[in-house]
């Protein structure tokens, strides 16, 4: 059975859930998780773009070097996914650090308006 529509729908679903997560609450952790879900959804879609019907694993070994017009699936999106995951890692850790700061300053993770009289030192 053709796997492409299932993967596409799941990517879209993931992206949708992430978007809903963003919109529905003000908790910082909720936002971090929501962004993580969105990025996973996009990564799934990225891998999907590299799919070629009947393509094989893009590793050139003796047997596959001379196969027909496009024997392999496109490896570049997979490489892009790698980088995107690494970037996701970086931003998420930073967000978690900010969440810790927020908890230390406000005692909870509800991100409301910026306090007006916040002291400025420099």
């Amino acid at each position: 059975m053709n796997v492409v529509p299932i993967v596409a729908i799941s990517a879209l679903l993931l992206f949708g859930i992430g978007l809903y997560g963003l919109w529905s609450g003000r908790n910082v952790l909720r936002w971090i998780l929501a962004v993580g879900l969105m990025e996973t959804g996009i990564n799934v879609f990225l891998v999907l773009t590299g799919w070629r019907p009947g393509g094989a694993v893009p590793i050139i070994t003796g047997a596959f070097s001379t196969r027909g017009p496009s024997p392999f699936i496109d490896p570049v999106p997979s490489a892009l996914v790698l980088t995107s995951i690494v970037i996701g890692l970086g931003t998420t850790t930073l967000a978690l650090a900010l969440a810790v700061l927020h908890a230390r300053a406000h005692g909870d993770l509800e991100c409301g308006d910026d306090p007006e009289n916040a002291e400025v030192l420099e």
């Binding site: 936002w31 962004v35 773009t49 570049v76 970086g90 900010l98 910026d114 306090p115 420099e122």
Partner: protein
């Protein structure tokens, strides 16, 4: 001539080696970071001294369009050198006047510089995305306040995370259609993409740029972040981050979207010009009005950056050569002018411990330089004659007036916005210069600065870093304002090279050698 790579490699290397010298900020770590930035600035200046032939550097031997290539020409090199200068001034200022910061501050500045240079020079779309993300992470970490509520920065993270995701989605869609990531190649294949692929990917990618350029609906994060971030980080945010975002947005706009071509009529290719022009105009006028109402000094500078970036976006959306030259001039002059204003704001906030410009009244009495540099910065940002901003606005008006009703409306808004902005900034400048009884306030400054154990902010003298940074930037302003020969030539060549419909430009040499030959009308033969 692969010296340009040093601009990316050297800061990264220094950034990773710096923590080895320990996490406590000793004079050694500070000297190291300042030396790196100084050396890079010297390298840039030396390279700019001679003629800079536009050339392409292919990284890692992978020939284009498969590998990543850097395109280095005069104006991109100038922009990178400007970034180095601003970073040097900001970091040195932070060391001497700002709060005590761990070594990670210097590391993050170096990372930001590497990302900035990368984003300006790269020719690859995904590589551009990666550098933008690195720059955002660095900027986020820099502007996070150590004590107090980080809500402004969380909102900044939220905006950049979502826009990063959107940009990635856009690149994915674009790649699925075009099959290549090299900007020049994308430009060649843009015509044949399907309609939904084009405008969906275009929208999503532009969303990423617009958030970094603080354009109106996406600017929510800017005022709060600027207020809580140290002034030196404010300088970096408004000078470097918006600068690289604007330059790379223009690169994407010129190469891939065929430079947006002229506004009306919409020629076949989906041109976003009218939408972006409208958005830029909205940002320009509302940003300027917000400045009129703003009581807080650093938020005032944030809205000034927003307003100026709106104007740059309008110039990019226009697309004709005169407007693009204006845009480049505006980016440079805004970076220079705004950095002067942030230096003065930094001194003022460290003296009075309050960021409302009303509280800065009379500071100019003890150190007159605050007033001089503030007025010079204002003149540059607002575009008063004899300073670079004027050349930018002059060519923008010329470019816009040639564009029918849209252009004239844009010029009218520019006039109103310039008046509002100059009133707002001059008001603060005059406040600094006013007769005000300083004794009442300076009394309480002594206790707080002693209590907070801040860096030795001696009241009377403004440190060497402030003077050196401000004088260097003023020299840049006056050189660019009074004899902008080198700049006009560089901007003209870049505008010509990037304009899509030119005969085969240098930019293309990197790929044409391998791409299938074109027939007479420039249509790619199958």
């Amino acid at each position: 001539m692969s010296a340009a790579v040093a601009f990316i490699a050297a800061p990264l290397a220094a950034a990773f080696l710096l923590p080895l010298l320990g996490t406590r900020p000793t004079w050694g770590t500070r000297a190291a970071s300042l030396l790196t930035l100084g050396a890079l600035f010297a390298l840039g200046a030396w390279m700019l001294a001679g003629p800079v032939p536009p050339h392409v550097i292919v990284l890692g031997g992978w020939r284009a369009p498969f590998g990543i290539s850097l395109y280095v020409d005069a104006s991109s090199l100038m922009l990178v050198t400007l970034f180095e200068l601003l970073a040097l001034a900001a970091l040195w200022f932070q060391h001497q006047h700002g709060q005590e910061k761990p070594v990670s501050f210097d590391v993050l500045v170096l990372v930001l510089m590497a990302a900035g240079a990368g984003a300006v020079l790269t020719q690859d779309l995904f590589n551009l995305f990666v550098f933008l993300e690195i720059a955002t992470v660095a900027a986020l970490a820099l502007s996070a306040p150590q004590t107090g509520s980080p809500r402004g920065v969380i909102r900044y993270w939220l905006f950049s995370a979502v826009s990063g995701a959107a940009m990635l989605l856009g690149i994915a869609i674009l790649y699925s259609g075009a099959g290549t990531l090299n900007l020049v190649d994308l430009g060649a294949r843009w015509g044949r993409l399907a309609e939904p692929v084009r405008w969906l990917s275009g929208v999503l990618i532009l969303l990423g740029f617009l958030v970094k350029m603080e354009i109106m609906p996406f600017h929510g994060w800017a005022p709060a972040t600027y207020r809580r971030a140290p002034s030196s980080v404010g300088l970096l945010l408004s000078g470097v981050v918006t600068g690289l975002a604007a330059f790379s947005a223009w690169k994407f706009f010129a190469l891939v979207l065929r430079g947006g071509t002229s506004l009306p009529p919409v020629s076949g290719v989906f041109s976003f010009s009218q939408a972006l022009f409208g958005l830029g105009a909205l940002t320009l006028i509302l940003g300027a009005l917000a400045m009129l109402a703003e009581k807080d000094g650093k938020r005032l500078l944030a809205f000034s950056t927003i307003s100026q970036m709106g104007l740059v976006l309008m110039a990019l959306a226009l697309g004709n050569p005169r407007a693009v030259r204006g845009a480049l001039f505006l980016v440079f002059s805004h970076a220079l002018g705004k950095s002067l204003l942030f230096l003065v704001a930094g001194i003022a906030v460290s003296r009075t411990r309050r960021s409302e410009w009303g509280a800065w009244r009379g500071l100019g009495q003890s150190s007159r330089s605050l007033v001089w540099f503030w007025f010079l910065g204002t003149a540059t940002v607002v575009g008063l004659p004899l300073v670079p901003g004027f050349w930018g606005k002059l060519s923008f008006v010329g470019g816009a007036l040639g564009m029918g009703m849209w252009g004239k409306a844009g010029v009218a808004l520019l006039i109103a916005a310039t008046v509002a902005e100059s009133v707002a900034l001059l008001r603060v400048g005059h406040g600094l210069w006013e007769h005000a009884d300083l004794r009442k306030r300076s009394g309480d400054v002594d206790e707080t600065s002693a209590a907070a154990g801040a860096a030795p902010a001696c009241k009377a003298c403004a440190g060497v870093s402030y003077w050196a940074g401000a004088l260097a930037i003023s020299a840049g302003i006056l050189w660019m304002g009074l004899w902008p020969a080198t700049f006009t030539r560089a901007f003209a060549d870049t505008a010509a090279a990037y304009a899509g419909d030119q005969p085969v430009s240098v930019v293309r040499t990197s790929t044409d050698a391998f791409a299938p030959r074109r027939d007479g009308q420039g249509q790619v033969k199958p």
